[in-house]
Symmetry: C2
Subunit: 330 residues, 2 copies
């Protein structure tokens, strides 16, 4: 069986571990979000790709969900002693090595897809990991002006020229902890980006496409914003796993992202946001089982089951349910 997964970071990486357990014989291709990528200290950092690679390659800090196990932080301390900025993004020494090598190869002219393949030769993640695009796409956040409603864009007339402040997604997410509401979230560069080599083929060749419980706006949404990907995905059998349980994100601050696009923080609203033209099946947690009768989800087969990825067996059961639903829907 061929499975293609659109992946963000921690949630996707954990889901993928369960998927590998649930379908050990499957050929899995992972299309990773690169909108979170950022250049820090001259080095290119790809948080989502690395989280998937480290998790599946058994190099992850499992408690934290991101970063390397057994990390040390000499470089961070040194850069701080030099007064270098930014100081709000934590990178460990082991992790730095990945960014150093990646940057070296990128500067030498290799595309990110080829560089990711080189890095994966070491980690052997057991899946084919592709960046969504070799072109730079960066998620930027337009901050809401003071006085604007959270969840709505402030009227233009209220915005002075100095008020509209745009920050890199990581600055908003990590430094500001998404506490300043986002007026708009932009996948800068997406319109002109091309899917990385192999991406459209992996979608076309897939028996099933899965959306793990990743952020529907800045992870899955950004991947879908690369021209050609949404249409290719829509042509296939797609099953998604809700990242929202009981009205709250399981992890992270997806609610702040959903507010920016005017979508409620609920399993039903996220499923409806994808819509029946994109997804065929939608897994929600037992506590959200009412979504099965929600008219907003008409045309989508909804299944309720325990969705907390407490451990590997629980996660494998979720992945198994997604595959079973896909089998039914094909």
């Amino acid at each position: 069986m061929r499975i293609t997964v659109l992946a963000g970071g921690v949630g996707a990486a954990r889901f993928l571990r369960g998927l590998k357990r649930a379908a050990p014989e499957a050929e899995i291709t992972v299309i990773g979000n690169t909108g979170d990528d950022i250049t820090l200290f001259g080095l290119r950092v790809c948080p989502d790709l690395d989280t998937v690679m480290y998790t599946l390659g058994d190099g992850i800090n499992t408690e934290q969900g991101w970063g390397r196990a057994g990390e040390t932080f000499s470089i961070r301390a040194e850069l701080a002693a030099y007064g270098a900025s930014p100081d709000w993004f934590t990178l460990g020494d082991r992790d730095f090595a990945t960014h150093i090598l990646r940057s070296q190869l990128l500067t030498a002219g290799q595309p990110l897809s080829a560089v990711t393949e080189v890095l994966c030769r070491r980690w052997q993640p057991g899946v084919r990991l592709l960046p969504m695009s070799d072109d730079a796409v960066e998620t930027h956040v337009v901050l809401q002006s003071p006085g604007g409603d959270r969840g709505g864009r402030p009227p233009r007339s209220q915005q002075g020229p100095g008020e509209r402040r745009v920050v890199h997604f990581q600055e908003w997410w990590v430094r500001m902890r998404a506490e300043t509401p986002a007026a708009q979230i932009i996948a800068a560069g997406a319109a002109g980006a091309a899917p990385a080599p192999g991406v459209l083929d992996a979608i076309a060749a897939a028996d099933v496409i899965l959306f793990p419980p990743s952020n529907p706006v800045v992870s899955i949404g950004t991947i879908l914003a690369v021209p050609g990907i949404r249409a290719a995905v829509a042509a296939k059998t797609v099953v998604g796993v809700s990242p929202i349980i009981g009205g709250a994100p399981v992890r992270g601050m997806a609610d702040a992202c959903l507010a920016a696009i005017g979508v409620d923080t609920s399993a039903a609203a996220v499923g409806a946001h994808y819509g029946p033209e994109l997804i065929n099946g939608w897994l929600v947690d037992d506590q959200d089982k009412a979504a099965a009768d929600d008219p907003a989800l008409a045309g989508i087969e909804v299944r309720a089951l325990p969705l907390y990825m407490r451990d590997l067996p629980a996660t494998a059961a979720i992945a198994r349910a997604a595959l079973d639903l896909a089998q039914e829907l094909r």
Copy 2:
């Protein structure tokens, strides 16, 4: 008093600690060799500048003489796990931070002199540290073909086109441990390089120029190869400290470098190599006191004294002797 010092790495750095002790009120400018600089993993490494900066800023691994105190080697291990090369140049995690920041600033368009100033703001070395040039000069070593005499260049007729192998100085020095004889040592790029801002002024304004016990070929020699520097130095009172004691380099493999330029490994031969047109005074170790009567050193005032830099007081005494001799000769 204004003192300008042409500096290589470990020997110069230790001498400078003694000089600061001997002349605490002096205004010291250090012109550092950058011919040893190398780009590793996409990062620019300046071993001599860093050795001076770390030593005078109390960040050096004092036993080793180079690299940072309290180092860890996570990044090195990680890069090896990725199969990245080269694996023969040891960089610690703390040291990597310096190279990361330097490379970031260089890539952003800042010249090496400005970058060095930024790095020194942290280390406060107590001297003004200038790279010899902002232009890239790299010391390359032409390896002697098998069968060629050590110390001489093999006749051209014996060299096939594939036999003339040129390596970066660091590869010869660190990886090959200078065991393959050098047919020629080239300061690649020196002819087209300009002294960094402040270098010629610091030479012109100096009351005395000192050559610490640095490698006369690949450290002092490379600095002097930058157009304009040799003539500016020659116009001043110059006192040098022999890096050769009792027919052997105190540290490193200067003998292999001297062989490549046909100079004997002796205090007298190195003094004569600089010659009376460049240096006015030459300090040799007590065991080399015969050099004072060597006709090859005619025109150079030679003084014999204990030259091993065993500790800070011994080193300060050497620096004091150099300054005293300069005072006499002015």
